[in-house]
């Protein structure tokens, strides 16, 4: 399954994109997406492995399984107010 992980803020500016495409196996978990992101950007691997991911607008545990069509967003480095 291919997901486009939405990114925002300073990370989006640093990488000059609004999303990162990752290819993971069927029945992949949130943790698999973290690992795929780390593999895409090895210079930021630690950050991506620990990054919080929202699936369909809710935080999920690392073990939660994904389904095709899920919307995934990386929610880190936030700073409202």
């Amino acid at each position: 399954m291919v997901f486009r992980v939405l990114i925002f803020g300073s990370l989006a500016r640093e990488l000059s994109c609004a999303s990162i495409a990752v290819d993971v196996p069927d029945n992949a978990s949130v943790r698999d997406v973290n690992e795929a992101l780390a593999a895409c950007h090895p210079h930021k691997a630690t950050f991506f492995r620990g990054a919080r991911l929202a699936v369909n607008h809710s935080f999920r545990s690392a073990d939660a399984l994904l389904r095709a069509g899920d919307e995934i967003a990386l929610v880190e480095l936030v700073g409202g107010g």
């Binding site: 300073s10 500016r13 607008h57 809710s58 967003a73 936030v78 700073g79 409202g80 107010g81």
Partner: protein, 133 residues
């Protein structure tokens, strides 16, 4: 008890919160967040806010409800800007009503800390345009 959230394009206007009946509260706090001219040592002209919806509104509502229950508030209202907010303008307003000041003050501090940590809102400093010489 009520929790209200509004995401507003651009700067917030003057505060005009709907007040609960006066007999229901003894403390009212309106906290306004204002865009500073100095951001990390550099002069800026504005902040630009990205808001990931509907997750941001959902989380602000849930956080407001949690503060209502935890601190026994009467009402809480959240307003947050989306898009560009010039220096000197308001980008965030938290209005809290409670029976007493202690719980109102505690709720304001905890709400803001958790919003800044968890809610998917990002801000970008926009530099001041260079002046012609």
């Amino acid at each position: 008890m009520s929790a209200t959230v509004r995401i507003i394009d651009g700067a917030l206007g003057n505060p005009a919160p709907a007040l609960p009946p006066a007999a229901q509260f003894g403390a009212a706090i309106v906290f306004d967040g204002v865009v500073r001219a100095d951001e990390g040592g550099r002069t800026i002209r504005a902040l630009a806010y990205e808001v990931y919806e509907p997750m941001a509104s959902n989380m602000l509502t849930e956080l407001g409800r949690e503060m209502l229950a935890k601190h026994g508030l009467v009402a809480i209202m959240v307003e947050h800007s989306r898009g560009e907010v010039p220096v000197g303008q308001r980008s965030f307003r938290l209005t809290v009503h409670a029976l007493h000041r202690a719980e109102a003050l505690a709720a304001v501090g905890e709400f803001i800390d958790r919003m800044k940590r968890d809610v998917p809102i990002w801000k970008t400093a926009l530099d001041e345009a260079p002046t012609a010489s």
